[in-house]
């Protein structure tokens, strides 16, 4: 896609999915990028003892999952003038190190408010390799006319 216009977007349009494998390096880099050093993410011995999420493994940041869900929209449309204005996410299952997650989004709502004010809502679901939903996100996106 070289241009993005609100009139060209249809309900149900699917955005290109993305996938990430959650290695400890991915978690560590996210911890540094978020400045979130909760030991459940970065302290392997502590995570094994505390079992906060019922697993001995470290787990990915919920905000990393949210970042990937936002990336579904940003990678598809961000360079073409789309701006995310609202993000609401829920995390329904922890993502332990070693897991692979796929993020899929589609257009859920159209908001034709007029020139310069048009937006859509994209619904994104994050699914682990077992087929379980680990997170969902609803993203309001302002779209060029």
């Amino acid at each position: 896609m070289t241009e993005l216009h609100f009139a060209d977007i249809q309900l149900g349009d699917a955005l290109p999915p993305i996938e990430s494998t959650i290695t400890q390096e991915v978690i560590d880099r996210a911890a540094l990028a978020h400045l979130d050093f909760n030991p459940v993410h970065t302290n392997t011995a502590w995570a094994a003892r505390a079992r906060v999420f019922g697993t001995e493994k470290t787990v990915a940041h919920g905000m990393f999952t949210m970042s990937q869900m936002a990336s579904v929209v940003d990678r598809a449309w961000g360079r073409h003038g789309a701006v995310i204005t609202h993000m609401e996410s829920k995390f329904t299952k922890p993502v332990p190190v070693g897991q692979t997650v796929r993020y899929e989004g589609s257009v859920w709502e159209l908001h034709p408010h007029g020139a310069g004010k048009n937006s859509v809502v994209v619904s994104v679901k994050a699914t682990d390799a077992d087929g379980s939903t680990v997170g969902t996100s609803s993203l309001r996106v302002r779209i060029p006319d």
Partner: protein, 182 residues
């Protein structure tokens, strides 16, 4: 390899190098669920000045490959760096220290979901401050939820982003300290 040595491989910014990497330290000064007063309001302990290296590092950690997000020279020559939509997260954790909002660091916390509103894009060089309000706390199915409203403004007072930050927390100071000492 120790956790610390493993993490030492990755920092690329001054903020990352100066930040405390062990959230089990200082828990005695964290706010805790059963002591938090809803409606209390304050300013985050630190002001965040947005540097190019912060943006690039965040984008790389988010697994971005767009040169406008991860190649500074390319971005400078092509209209400037693109920010990741979740960049607010780094600003939030940097601004919060052991004062108001410090519960976000609690060992044993769990993340049920988040809501972020974006009013204006961030720009390189802006100095961002966080105004934190203890917005709500509640109990559901035996879990203790805490929610702050955090508003991020630049040096001109322009509202950039609002984050309703929510976690499930250990209930008491003893609970938090027990998690920290596991």
């Amino acid at each position: 390899m120790s956790d610390r040595n493993r993490l030492e491989q990755y920092p690329t910014t001054a903020k990352q190098r100066s930040f405390e990497w062990d959230f089990t330290k200082g828990v005695e000064n964290y706010e805790v669920w059963d002591e938090i007063e809803i409606g209390a309001k304050g300013t985050g302990a630190h002001t965040y000045r947005i540097e190019e290296e912060d943006v690039v590092n965040f984008n790389v950690a988010a697994l971005e490959t767009d040169p406008l997000m991860i190649d500074l020279d390319f971005a400078r020559a092509n209209g400037g760096l693109r920010f990741h939509p979740l960049f607010t997260v780094q600003i939030a954790f940097y601004c919060v220290d052991t004062g108001i909002g410090s519960w976000v660091r609690s060992p044993g916390a769990r993340n049920p979901g988040q809501t972020i509103e974006v009013f204006e894009p961030y720009r390189i060089g802006e100095a961002i401050t966080a105004t934190i309000t203890h917005h709500d706390k509640w109990v559901r199915r035996g879990s203790y939820y805490m929610q702050d409203k955090i508003e991020f403004r630049n040096e001109h007072g322009t509202l950039k982003t609002r984050w309703f930050a929510t976690l499930l927390l250990p209930k008491t100071r003893e609970d938090v300290q027990r998690f920290a000492s596991i």
